[in-house]
């Protein structure tokens, strides 16, 4: 049985104040895929993400993770499988020290102490934050907070990583490090982002959302070169696919394109 598949069918959701957020969304993401979820503000990306591990329950439609349909009864199982990295790391890091924060999830899973210790160390080393373990989270830099937030999720041993704007508020170096980190993960990844260049590098597939609907679901390069679609969905070409602003040659674009295209 594979837990790595995410299947959403005809998902609809309207907020209590009457704002429609999702108006019939369907897709299927399979094992090991890395998918970018893009769209302008208010397109419904975050609402969709909150459905994937049951923070919100569908008003209509279905969510399936692997063979398990998302219901109240399967929530614990689903939340173990789907790791969610929130946009603001301050929301995710609430324990007094980094170590305890990363241990929070595994302890809640009821794992024995030595297993918890092993997982915490593994997760923190994976994101390169092991030496931060005794620091209080509110004293970390933005990039460090983000890394630790990812470690808190990794420590739960999820098969699927769901991330909301992982590269927001990071300086260029920290963003680069984050992208290298994410590229090394073998998990199925779903990344909601405005950082289209990151999407171009990390994700072979892109889902475009606009006003609660999916307007396009296809290979990232095809999506980001379809100017009409981007225009109609409130987006624009990523910088990597535009002519070089200094010399006007389209080289920069082609390089990025070939890089994405040749990835296995």
């Amino acid at each position: 049985m594979s837990h790595h598949i995410v299947e959403v069918t005809d998902l609809e959701f309207t907020y209590p104040d009457g704002t429609p957020a999702l108006a019939g969304v369907s897709f299927r993401i399979t094992h090991g895929e890395s998918v970018a979820l893009v769209g302008p503000n208010g397109a419904g990306k975050s609402t969709l993400l909150l459905h994937l591990n049951g923070v919100l329950t569908p008003q209509r439609g279905r969510v399936r993770i692997g063979d398990v349909p998302l219901t109240r009864g399967t929530l614990p199982e689903i939340r173990k499988t789907v790791g969610m990295v929130f946009q603001d790391p301050d929301d995710q890091l609430f324990m007094p020290t980094v170590y305890e924060d990363v241990a929070f999830g595994p302890l809640n899973l009821g794992l024995p102490a030595d297993e918890v210790a092993r997982r915490v160390q593994e997760a923190l080393e994976r994101v390169g934050a092991w030496e931060l373990r005794d620091r209080p989270p509110h004293r970390l830099s933005g990039g460090e907070k983000r890394a630790v937030a990812i470690a808190t999720v990794l420590a739960m041993g999820p098969d699927i990583l769901v991330m909301d704007e992982p590269s927001s508020n990071l300086d260029p170096r920290a963003r680069r490090r984050l992208m290298e980190l994410l590229a090394g993960f073998e998990h199925t990844k779903i990344i909601a982002t405005h950082d289209l260049d990151m999407a171009l590098e990390l994700c072979e597939r892109t889902i475009v959302m606009y006003r609660g609907r999916i307007t396009r679901d296809g290979p990232t390069l095809d999506v980001f070169t379809d100017d009409l679609l981007l225009e109609n969905s409130g987006l624009e070409r990523p910088l990597g696919l535009r002519p070089c602003p200094a010399c006007g040659s389209p080289r920069a674009g082609r390089q990025a394109a070939s890089r994405t295209a040749t990835r296995p």
Partner: protein, 266 residues
């Protein structure tokens, strides 16, 4: 606004002090909490005109601060931050209570002045002891100890989260105040109405954040119980610390040490 920022950064220093490793730091938090509790109760239970009998109590924070290598200047500054409260609380006493208590030559000291002095001494000693407790145990340690001592879990968790998000909240408040400052000129824009909406805004943001944090906790399997890796062990030296100091405080409560010393020499 620099002062608020500074006050919060300073709080972080209290946190760092708690990370040191001295015999006092290594004591079980429960021993320190209970000893401090006995200290506070005995200290506060003295009569309202008592000053001299309170003085020996200074031994506890002084010895602990010395053994734990706490910087005294820093603790003194922290004391000053809260001082206005104590200074104001007792400020009316000298006017309300004019019974003459003792005469120093031509100067008559009234009961009000004596009780005011007593309040100030108590303030310095109690807050000093509390600061030393936090600086040697850490806020988290205090919460954990309280929980193990039987404080309802909800309270301990609330305290922990309050402390964690104090910084985030202060940051948000600071940004709001700064934004207001940039667009209000002179006294315009700083009135009570604007202040009201500012505070309301802060409340809404806080509620929003609380919801997001709760969601994040649920996503990591939170079921209402804070599990922790730290285990506490109450060892012999913890008992010694608790019993020794408590006995001393009780002795201070029953015997006025300065008067006893005085009567020995005079």
């Amino acid at each position: 606004m620099g002062s608020i920022e500074h006050a919060f950064l300073d709080l972080g220093r209290l946190d760092r002090l708690a990370h040191a490793d001295t015999p006092i730091h290594r004591l079980d938090p429960r021993a320190k909490i209970l000893a401090t509790l006995v200290y506070l109760v005995t200290l506060v239970s003295h009569g309202k005109y008592e000053v001299s009998a309170l003085l020996p109590y200074a031994v506890y924070p002084a010895v602990l601060a010395a053994q734990a290598d706490l910087p005294l200047g820093y603790l003194a500054r922290k004391l000053l931050v809260v001082a206005p409260f104590a200074v104001l609380v007792g400020a009316a006493n000298p006017w309300l209570d004019r019974t003459p208590m003792l005469a120093l030559g031509p100067l008559t000291v009234t009961g009000g002045w004596v009780s005011y002095a007593s309040i100030l001494v108590r303030f310095v000693l109690t807050i000093g002891a509390a600061l030393v407790l936090v600086a040697t145990t850490g806020f988290h340690g205090v919460c954990l100890g309280l929980q193990r001592l039987g404080t309802p879990r909800v309270m301990a968790v609330q305290l922990l989260l309050l402390y964690r998000y104090l910084f985030v909240l202060a940051d948000e408040a600071l940004r709001l105040v700064r934004a207001r400052g940039l667009r209000s000129f002179g006294r315009r824009g700083t009135g009570i109405k604007v202040y009201g909406s500012l505070v309301g805004h802060l409340l809404l943001r806080t509620l929003d954040r609380a919801r997001r944090i709760h969601v994040a906790m649920l996503c990591r399997g939170f079921t209402g119980e804070f599990r922790t890796l730290r285990s506490l062990r109450f060892r012999g030296r913890d008992w010694a610390f608790l019993v020794g100091w408590s006995a001393l405080f009780l002795a201070f409560r029953m015997v006025n040490v300065p008067r006893l010393l005085g009567s020995l020499f005079v």
